[in-house]
């Protein structure tokens, strides 16, 4: 399999590994941004007000059960080919973990802290933005990292409807029965997932207040 992966011919041109890697990364990042715009406010609102928690749980479960292949095909049949169906399918996949992470993070903020914030005269919006969200960041990041892992793995399916990404190698390898190409695709996806996760870990380090870091090691969450 190394033969396929390390053959220089597969590392250049419009169908080469770098192009596919960037396409795959592009699907992943834009999906996460769109999903964040939808899921973070929803999760934050429900977490802050405490109303409608069952909606979040229910919605998450239903979305989790949605087969991505079916969503992708349906959107293609309705709206035509291109990247749009890929984003619809992937965003639906990314919403549940991000929403659940945000909701859980905000619910888990110590009520005493929230009370104190109100006590010093903060408005509700200030309580949410300056106290609850920063305190909830570790769990929000947890949600994002879970979503990212799933999206990177699942973006493979984009190739089924003719779009790009690393899935191209998996699907072409399947059609050609080229074991090396399939495996190279799978390994590259796994590597990309690890890199994206590392990226989030770095971002988390930069943004989460040091006061929230777990004390000691090996502790339970």
């Amino acid at each position: 399999m190394g033969g396929w992966l390390f053959d220089p011919a597969h590392w250049s041109g419009p169908t080469g590994i770098p192009v596919r890697l960037l396409e795959h990364l592009g699907y992943t990042l834009l999906t996460l941004v769109i999903a964040a715009v939808i899921a973070v406010p929803l999760g934050a609102f429900v977490g802050h007000t405490g109303k409608g928690g069952f909606v979040i749980v229910g919605l998450s479960n239903v979305l989790r059960a949605l087969p991505t292949t079916a969503v992708l095909i349906l959107v293609v049949l309705w709206a035509g080919l291109g990247d749009f169906p890929v984003y619809v399918a992937l965003v639906l996949l990314a919403i549940p973990p991000i929403m659940a992470g945000t909701y859980a993070g905000i619910r888990a903020v110590d009520p005493v802290t929230v009370d104190a914030a109100r006590g010093v005269g903060m408005r509700e919006s200030g309580v949410l933005l300056n106290v609850e969200i920063p305190n909830a960041l570790p769990l929000i990041f947890g949600g994002f990292r879970g979503a990212a892992l799933q999206v990177v793995a699942t973006a493979t399916i984009a190739a089924y409807t003719g779009a790009g990404g690393l899935g191209r190698f998996v699907f072409d390898g399947l059609a050609l029965q080229e074991f090396g190409q399939m495996l190279a695709g799978a390994v590259l996806v796994a590597l990309l997932a690890v890199l994206v996760d590392l990226g989030f870990a770095g971002l988390q380090r930069l943004t989460v207040s040091p006061g929230l870091r777990p004390v000691g090691t090996g502790g339970k969450k």
């Binding site: 399999m1 190394g2 419009p14 169908t15 293609v76 049949l77 035509g80 080919l81 190739a159 409807t161 003719g162 191209r168 699907f171 072409d172 399947l174 059609a175 050609l176 029965q177 080229e178 074991f179 090396g180 495996l183 390994v187 796994a190 590597l191 690890v194 996760d197 590392l198 870990a201």
Partner: protein, 299 residues
């Protein structure tokens, strides 16, 4: 995270050590049973033909089980060889090229005779039908007019400027890109992996993502979209008669008679009609389309 990276490296190493198991091919014979497993390739015409075979056999009291819509020949032929499926509708020319890449026969009878000889032991083809469905290089009406294209010969000067679309396996098949290159010296600017004469390929042609594509000559979409099928004077695409590929052990006289009777009634017009019905707005199931045809053919 460092540990994850180590684990990835370990997984890679493991898989690297595995070599290429595809080369190994298991040859374990299945326990003989009296059930015939009918398979089909991953496009509707194949599925409806498989349904026709299956229903006709079932009507004669043969035990049937169906594994339809499996994948392309590269995949399902392994299933035929390892005994996972016993019967599948095939096309003489592409099947011949699959079992013998060097095969040069193009005429219907020559292909059929060569195919009978070339098949691996244990596999046979029954009588060929008159029904033909070839792969073909297809362009839109606009492209045909723009470059005044009638045959692949006319296309040759423009190949390097055009993007070609087809199923991924088209890149490797002798009756695919390699054939076009060898016989016409036509090399496209780029190849785009689409599907097996399905919605992707049609959409790709329509929106000009690809300027030429591989479609089946019996595809109802060709007429519906006024696509132009380019002639193939150098015969990259050999004669393609529909015929059943069968596991010899399962081919009892009754099975042979039943399937040969079907092949006698199948012609190219039948394929066009079947495809037309499948793509009708009410989207009937292949099972139903097959049943209707069998009734109308008196089988």
């Amino acid at each position: 995270m460092k540990r994850i990276a180590t684990a990835v490296a370990a997984v890679m190493l493991l898989s690297a050590c595995g070599g290429d198991p595809l080369q190994g091919g298991g040859n374990n014979n299945p326990a003989p049973t009296d059930t015939i497993v009918v398979g089909s390739a991953n496009f509707p015409e194949s599925t409806v033909l498989a349904e026709i075979y299956a229903q006709a056999l079932a009507a004669k009291g043969v035990k049937i089980s169906k594994k339809l819509n499996i994948g392309n020949r590269e995949l399902y032929f392994k299933g035929v060889q390892d005994g996972s499926i016993d019967l599948i509708p095939e096309y003489s020319g592409v099947l011949l090229k699959h079992v013998n890449k060097e095969a040069a026969e193009v005429g219907s009878d020559e292909v059929y005779a060569a195919l009978k000889k070339a098949l691996p032991q244990g596999l046979i083809v029954l009588d060929k039908s008159a029904a033909e469905d070839k792969d073909a290089v297809v362009v839109t009406k606009q492209i045909a007019a723009q470059y005044s294209l009638k045959s692949i010969d006319d296309l040759v000067p423009y190949c390097k400027d055009l993007v070609f679309g087809g199923p991924p396996e088209f890149q490797n098949r002798p009756d695919g890109l390699p054939g076009l290159k060898a016989k016409y010296a036509c090399e496209f600017k780029q190849f785009k992996s689409l599907d097996v004469g399905g919605p992707l390929t049609v959409a790709g042609l329509k929106d000009n993502t690809v300027q030429a594509a591989d479609l089946f000559t019996t595809d109802a979409a060709i007429k519906a979209n006024e696509f132009v099928v380019l002639e193939d004077p150098k015969n990259v695409f050999a004669a393609q008669n529909v015929l059943p590929l069968v596991n010899e052990k399962k081919a009892s006289q009754q099975v042979r008679d039943t399937l040969n009777a079907i092949s006698k009634k199948l012609d190219t017009k039948t394929l066009l009609d079947l495809n037309q019905k499948l793509s009708a707005p009410d989207k009937p199931e292949p099972e139903k389309v097959a049943k209707e045809w069998l009734a109308s053919a008196g089988l």
